[in-house]
């Protein structure tokens, strides 16, 4: 495909799109699909056909419309009007209402804070186009950034732009992306590889799934730009097998891009070739760790190894490898199109851009949100999330999954950025944000995460393999009201030991949920231990 052809497709599709009086978007993401949004789309198609409105109305099957708990979600145009909980039986009423207000039972205000307080960069166009159709993606600007990078910029200029943007890795650790790219670009050895981490293993997180399902071409485009910048010709996307729809859409998108010549040899007529293969994960949380992931792509048990050497120098098959997360790659296209300086105006001094969170748990509006870095947790939970349901009281916000911590009420006003979250004992993580109310016992929460880490520990290093087991035993004992006061000292010792001596991030961060709950909710531990003493005392007297 030539740059001119790309522009022509975009213009043709835009004209087609503009000719419709009404564009009805039906969410086709896993969440809404599970409440049968596909049947809703079919019913709407039928209704349009029956009334012979084909030239005026168009039913689009689109990516996530954010409000997952209200699904199946339907929107009009670019989301000015929203409908919730639409069933196939509502199709006729919905079509009737086009051009006027939605039926009251389906109406979902599009101007509520849940939508208006978001800031969209990665998900800019999500929910307004069909992700399974490459021409639809091109209509909303896909591959324009790749065209610009390949035809107008040198690899060094691309890396400079990414460095200027201040983008940091969205997988959780927040390593500066520009620095990573320039390290791989400078590394000696060939071939080089570009790898995308789509093994979203954090329980309570589904941002990457949503990006892969809702805008797969943006991920592919980001990877291609990265490949151009670092000098790679081959890429891998490592996707969880538990996300069949994401796997299907990514595969479909790669095939379409290959056929269109947007992947393959001499992309845009330049001396740049790149292709991508999908590799399926098989349900091992530790494969989110970079060396484990690369080992797994090569068909082995996903066991991490000590670093250095870092993957930038010694990665997949022993070659220099660039490894970024799905959301990181999805940030690349807008940075190249609009410039790193533009991106750097969004967010805080050290954390630029936006972050997508999966807002779930005990909060009124659950779903997928993209917010500007620096927004406070209070704004997310109480403005966007609409507060705690059933009149209960907020207790803690959990970020970063099993590697993160529980943030209590007194820190609700800290800004959401990498440093601030770390300063209160949690981490940004990949984007799971789980709200807990006063019905959750924090010792049980700590035990829940330790159970997770224990069963996900790969077993290679002793501190993690044995340490997580022992900590889980202690937490279980305390929760079962059989704990002793000395257990708390022992827990803290084990936390220090795991942090200091584990081989990889899984073991090093596994103590975080325990440490943060011990710090902010020690009284809950003490209450359970006191209850244990009471029972024991009663037994002695009996």
């Amino acid at each position: 495909m030539t740059p001119e052809e790309l522009t022509a497709i975009a213009a043709k599709k835009a004209d087609e799109h503009a000719a419709y009086q009404h564009v009805v978007n039906v969410c086709m993401e896993s969440g809404c699909m599970s409440s049968r949004s596909d049947a809703v789309a079919t019913a709407l198609d039928g209704e349009i056909k029956k009334r012979n409105l084909g030239g005026k109305c168009c039913i689009k099957r689109v990516g996530c419309l954010c409000s997952c708990a209200q699904g199946p979600m339907v929107s009009l145009g670019t989301g000015q009007t929203m409908y919730k909980g639409v069933s196939p039986a509502d199709a006729a009423d919905l079509v009737d209402s086009l051009g006027s207000a939605p039926p009251a039972r389906l109406a979902f205000p599009a101007d509520q804070p849940f939508f208006s307080r978001q800031r969209r960069v990665v998900r800019e166009f999500a929910g307004t186009f069909d992700p399974e159709d490459i021409e639809e993606s091109i209509r909303v600007g896909a591959y324009q950034a790749l065209r610009k990078a390949v035809t107008e910029m040198t690899p060094a200029e691309v890396i400079q732009e990414i460095s200027t943007s201040g983008l940091r890795g969205r997988g959780g650790a927040g390593f500066p992306t520009g620095l990573k790219w320039s390290t791989v670009a400078k590394a000696s050895g060939s071939p080089k590889y570009v790898v995308c981490n789509g093994d979203e293993g954090d329980p309570g997180a589904f941002m990457d799934r949503s990006v892969m399902e809702g805008d797969p071409h943006r991920v592919i485009e980001g990877m291609a730009i990265a490949a151009y910048a670092v000098g790679a010709e081959h890429g891998y996307i490592y996707v969880r097998a538990e996300y069949p729809l994401a796997v299907k859409r990514i595969n479909k998108a790669i095939n379409q891009a290959n056929r269109a010549g947007l992947l393959g040899r001499n992309i845009f007529g330049a001396k740049f070739s790149f292709d991508i293969e999908v590799r399926l994960g098989a349900g091992a949380f530790v494969c989110g760790e970079e060396t484990a992931l690369l080992t797994s792509i090569a068909g082995n048990r996903g066991v991490p190894r000590p670093r250095p050497p870092f993957p930038a120098n010694y990665g997949l098959f022993g070659k220099p490898t660039l490894l970024n997360n799905v959301e990181t790659y999805a940030n690349i296209a807008p940075i190249i199109t609009r410039g790193g300086a533009w991106f750097a105006t969004i967010g805080t001094a050290k954390s630029k851009g936006t972050k997508i969170f999966a807002l779930t748990g005990k909060v009124n509006n659950t779903g997928l949100i993209e917010v500007e870095m620096g927004i406070t947790l209070r704004e997310i939970i109480f403005d966007i999330g609409g507060g705690i349901p059933d009149g209960r009281k907020f207790k803690a916000a959990q970020t970063g999954g099993p590697s993160g911590g529980c943030i209590p009420e007194q820190y609700l006003d800290i800004p959401v950025d990498y440093e601030s979250l770390a300063s209160v004992g949690s981490i940004m993580g990949s984007g799971g944000l789980i709200v807990m109310d006063d019905t959750s016992n924090m010792v049980d929460v700590a035990r829940f995460f330790m159970d997770f880490c224990m069963s996900e520990s790969c077993g290679k290093c002793v501190p993690c393999r044995v340490g997580t087991y022992q900590m889980h035993e202690i937490l279980r004992r305390i929760y079962d009201r059989q704990g002793r006061l000395e257990d708390l000292t022992l827990l803290r010792e084990l936390c220090d030991m795991l942090k200091a001596t584990s081989l990889c991030g899984l073991g090093q961060t596994a103590p975080n949920p325990v440490l943060s709950t011990l710090k902010y909710f020690e009284n809950e531990y003490l209450d359970l231990i006191a209850a244990a003493r009471q029972t024991k005392g009663n037994e002695v007297h009996a």
């Binding site: 896993s30 969440g31 599970s34 409440s35 409000s67 997952c68 708990a69 699904g71 979203e200 293993g201 954090d202 329980p203 309570g204 997180a205 589904f206 799934r209 097998a241 538990e242 996300y243 292709d275 293969e277 590799r279 399926l280 994960g281 098989a282 349900g283 091992a284 949380f285 797994s296 792509i297 090569a298 068909g299 082995n300 048990r301 996903g302 999966a358 779930t360 748990g361 005990k362 659950t366 779903g367 997928l368 959990q398 999954g401 799971g432 789980i434 807990m436 959750s440 929460v445 829940f448 995460f449 997770f452 996900e456 790969c458």
Partner: protein, 169 residues
């Protein structure tokens, strides 16, 4: 791509089952590269539902990797199962959001009602009870997957009712 790999003399599949052709096609597509071990096991599990010893031996011989490594990989990853699954599957999500909203109670109820623990199948081979670390349907927590269909905002009663209906049909 590994399209240029030399075709290998075909090993005899463990049985005449035509489904082996799908597995063969996967291995051929990857040029019988040992790196494609996980992909090959995915293919076996997809068509047969689980990985048994003859299957693992066949994949090991085809890709020229030691059987010990195939067994190691098959048991390392949670997604692979070495036991046949029941006719029906009930997967309870134990992701954080689902757990906070009470999926633990659903798991316990199904477990007690049918006398099987997480990961087990009823003796009559009708029902397998499984738990998932997170199926990514957190917005619909707690979520349960019955025979591939996601039930969002599930309750103990609702799941037990649906299960009874499925088992009776």
């Amino acid at each position: 791509m590994t399209a240029l790999a030399t075709p290998k003399p075909t090993l005899k599949a463990p049985s005449d089952d035509k489904r082996w052709r799908i597995v063969d096609a996967t291995m051929r597509r990857h040029g019988y590269d040992p790196h494609a071990l996980i992909e090959s096991l995915h293919s076996v599990q997809q068509v047969f539902g689980f990985l048994d010893e003859p299957a693992m031996r066949y994949v090991a011989a085809s890709l020229k990797v030691p059987l010990s490594k195939v067994f190691g990989v098959a048991t390392f990853y949670h997604y692979f199962t070495l036991k046949p699954q029941g006719k029906h599957a009930c997967v309870v999500c134990l992701g954080t959001a689902c757990y906070i909203k009470g999926s633990g109670a659903i798991l316990k109820d199904v477990s007690e009602r049918h006398g099987i623990l997480d990961g087990q199948t009823t003796p009559d081979g009708e029902l397998s009870l499984l738990s998932a670390r997170c199926i990514g349907a957190c917005g619909l927590a707690p979520a349960v997957v019955l025979d591939g269909e996601v039930i969002g905002k599930a309750s103990v009663d609702q799941v037990s009712l649906r299960l009874e209906r499925i088992l009776q049909s």
